[in-house]
């Protein structure tokens, strides 16, 4: 397994946990990576749309589910961003701050998606 965030600070994904969890079985890892590449862009699209429309409840629900998605791929940098987005949307306040966090979310997610596209070729 390559592309670990722990060993390479330029990378956002740490796939070591996933590989260990899947017993380094290539077909299982590939299945997870494929699902990530389908699911996360869709979740990102929904959360962006909700931020645009200032829909706190939708932001809260998608921020919550994305926490699970990114944890599987070891994207530790996204956890505090999503947690903060969820927390602010529960309180229904500081939409400007949520927008700022959402921009960071987009940048990191796009980087993660690009890394996983490359990583997938190893399986």
């Amino acid at each position: 397994m390559t592309g670990e965030a722990e060993t390479n600070p330029d990378k956002v994904c740490n796939l070591g946990y996933l590989a260990e969890m899947m017993g380094h079985k290539a077909h299982l890892i590939k299945g997870i990576l494929d699902t990530f590449l389908t699911q996360v862009p869709e979740e990102l699209r929904c959360i962006n749309e909700a931020v645009e429309k200032s829909e706190y409840d939708v932001i809260r629900r998608y921020a919550h589910t994305m926490k699970s998605s990114v944890s599987i791929l070891g994207i530790a940098a996204l956890a505090p961003i999503l947690k903060e987005m969820e927390s602010l949307s529960v309180k229904e306040e500081k939409m400007d701050e949520i927008r700022g966090l959402c921009q960071k979310l987009n940048v990191l997610c796009e980087q993660a998606i690009a890394e996983i596209e490359i990583e997938k070729q190893n399986y």
């Binding site: 969890m21 997870i32 699902t35 990530f36 926490k67 998605s69």
Partner: protein, 174 residues
């Protein structure tokens, strides 16, 4: 040696990626235990098969409304499960900042709860192992109880037989 009965496990979780990873992890961990995993995005979607299969264990997420806003939450589904089959063991999954839900789920009859932290999959597997062992022990205890009752009845019938023979045909045992 008797063949182990298959354990049916339901995963009710609205994040497909999480479900897929959890399913693969459980299958990789319990290679010697016959298990069948069924997954659903909402509790409502699991109800028909639940009634048919009566799964031994349900892994249930509390938040089930990310993609289906009207989906019932984990506590409501837990109540429905317990009402449908008291014997089903439920492991409730909660987010790291929601310990109240964990406590509430135990009050509503969950066998265990797992906080979705970094070690969540290890904790789920640990909980699953304990529940499977408990069910096996309970099933063995039931079997031994039946055997003991069977032996007692055999001895009772034999004793009755001897008494009847002694009363009505005493010549037979002289």
């Amino acid at each position: 040696m008797s063949k182990k009965k298959e354990t049916n496990i339901f995963i009710i979780e609205d994040n497909k990626l999480f479900t897929l990873a959890l399913k693969a992890d459980i299958e990789a961990t319990f290679t010697k235990t016959p298990i069948r995993i069924h997954s659903f995005e909402t509790g409502e979607a699991s109800m028909d098969l639940f009634k048919e299969v009566k799964p031994e264990i349900v892994i249930l997420d509390y938040h089930l409304n990310s993609k289906h806003p009207d989906a019932a939450d984990g506590i409501k589904i837990l109540d429905w499960i317990k009402n449908e089959d008291e014997e089903t063991n439920v492991i409730m999954l909660t987010s790291d900042d929601n310990i109240d839900v964990a406590v509430k789920s135990l009050h509503h009859g969950a066998a265990d709860y797992v906080v979705k932290s970094e070690t969540k999959f290890k904790k789920i597997n640990y909980s699953l192992r304990n529940l499977i062992k408990m069910r096996e022990a309970r099933s063995e205890a039931k079997l031994y109880k039946r055997l003991a009752i069977g032996m007692f009845l055999c001895i009772a019938v034999l004793a009755c037989g001897i008494i009847v023979v002694q009363i009505f045909m005493p010549a037979l045992i002289r």
